[in-house]
C-alpha cells in the first residue's frame, strides 16, 4: 500500500473511498446485471477459498487432523456450539444456513484485507441482501412454527397490562429495524476500517522520510482490522442465531 502511495506522489492524492468503486472487469462499459465486475471476481475467490478449505482440507479425514483440516473442524464446531447454545436443539436444523453465512462473511472480510483487494462485504447492497434473507426466513419460520402465536413476541405477558401496548409498539419498531442495523453494521465496519488504512497510506505518501510513522500505524490498524473482521462475522452469525431463537421460542424472553 505504501508503494502505491509513493507512486501517487506527494500530497493527498489517494482518495480513501476509491477502493470501494465497483468496476467492470473487462473494458469500461456500463454495469448491467450480468456484467462481471470486481465484486463478482472477489465473491468467486471467496467461494473457491471456502471450497478449498472445507472440501480439500478435510479430504483426508484423518483422526489426527492436518493443519487445514483442524482449521475447518474448529470453525465448524465453533458455529455448531454457538447455534446450540443460543437457539437450542431445535435450531440445529438451520445449521447449514448459519454456517454458510458465517464462513462467507468471514472469508470475504479476510480476503478484503489483502492490499489491492476488493471487500465485497463493504457494500450495503451485498449485506442488505443477506440481512433481508435472514429477516424473511426468520419471520416465515416464526409463523410456520407458531402460527399466529408468533405475534406473542410483541405482546410481553410478563409486563404490567398498562405498559404492554407501549412495549408492543417499541418491540414492533425494533423488529423491523433489525435488517437495517444487521446489514449496515457489517458494511459500515468494513468500509470505515478499510478507509482508515487508506487515509494513513495517504499520510505515508505526503510525509516523505517521516512516512515510517504512518506505516507503523498502518501495521497497527491492520492488526486491529483483523480482529474487527472476525468479530463482525461472528456478530452477524450470532445475531442470526438470536433472531432464529426468537422465531422458534417467541415466549422465551
Amino acid at each position: 500500500m505504501s508503494a502505491e502511495a509513493e507512486a501517487a506522489g506527494s500530497g493527498f492524492n489517494i482518495h480513501p473511498m476509491d477502493q470501494f468503486v465497483v468496476k467492470p472487469l473487462f473494458g469500461n462499459g456500463d454495469i448491467l446485471w450480468y456484467t462481471p465486475t470486481n465484486v463478482t471476481l472477489w465473491m468467486g475467490i471467496a467461494v473457491l477459498a471456502i471450497i478449498a478449505l472445507l472440501v480439500l482440507g478435510t479430504r483426508g479425514r484423518a483422526v489426527v487432523p492436518s493443519r487445514s483440516q483442524s482449521i475447518a473442524e474448529t470453525i465448524y464446531v465453533f458455529v455448531h456450539k454457538m447455534l446450540e447454545d443460543i437457539a437450542g436443539k431445535e435450531g440445529l436444523k438451520y445449521f447449514p444456513y448459519i454456517f454458510t453465512l458465517f464462513i462467507f462473511i468471514l472469508v470475504s472480510n479476510i480476503l478484503g484485507l489483502i492490499p489491492g483487494a476488493f471487500t465485497t462485504t463493504s457494500h450495503i447492497a451485498v449485506t442488505a441482501v443477506m440481512a433481508m434473507a435472514v429477516f424473511t426466513t426468520v419471520t416465515l419460520i416464526g409463523f410456520y412454527k407458531n402460527g399466529i402465536g408468533f405475534l406473542g413476541l410483541f405482546w410481553i405477558s410478563s409486563a404490567p397490562l398498562v405498559l404492554r401496548p407501549i412495549l408492543a409498539l417499541i418491540e414492533i419498531i425494533s423488529y423491523f429495524v433489525r435488517p437495517i442495523s444487521h446489514s449496515i453494521r457489517l458494511a459500515g465496519n468494513m468500509m470505515a476500517g478499510h478507509a482508515v488504512i487508506k487515509v494513513f497510506a495517504g499520510f505515508a505518501g505526503a510525509l516523505g522520510v517521516f512516512s515510517v510513522f504512518p506505516i507503523v500505524a498502518i501495521m497497527a490498524v491492520y492488526g486491529l482490522e483483523m480482529l474487527v473482521v472476525c468479530i463482525q462475522a461472528y456478530v452477524f452469525a450470532i445475531l442470526t442465531c438470536v433472531y432464529l431463537n426468537d422465531a422458534l421460542h417467541p415466549g422465551g424472553h
Binding site: 437495517i180 453494521r185 461472528y234
Partner: protein, 80 residues
C-alpha cells in the same frame, strides 16, 4: 440559484459532521457493556466463558444506535 445550492450542500455536510457525534454515544454504550462484563468476570471467572456470547450481543445492540448516526451522515452526504 447557484449560491442556494451551495448553501444546501454546506448544510448537509455540516449536518453529516454533526451526525458523527452520535458515535460518542455508541462508544459510551460499548464501553459500559464491556466494562461491566469485565468487572463481573473478574469477580466470578468461572461464569465468564458462558457469558461471552451475551456480551457480544450487547455490544452489537449498543453499536447499532451508533450505526444509525453513520447512516444519517451517509444519507445527508449522498442521498439528496
Amino acid at each position: 440559484m447557484a449560491v442556494e445550492g451551495d448553501l444546501v450542500q454546506m448544510g448537509a455536510l455540516i449536518g453529516a459532521g454533526l451526525a458523527c457525534t452520535g458515535m460518542g454515544g455508541a462508544a459510551v454504550g460499548v464501553g459500559h457493556v464491556v466494562g461491566n462484563y469485565l468487572s463481573g468476570a473478574l469477580r466470578n471467572p468461572a461464569a465468564a466463558a458462558g457469558q461471552t456470547a451475551t456480551m457480544f450481543i450487547g455490544i452489537a445492540f449498543a453499536e447499532a444506535l451508533g450505526i444509525f448516526s453513520f447512516l444519517v451522515a451517509l444519507l445527508l452526504m449522498y442521498a439528496q
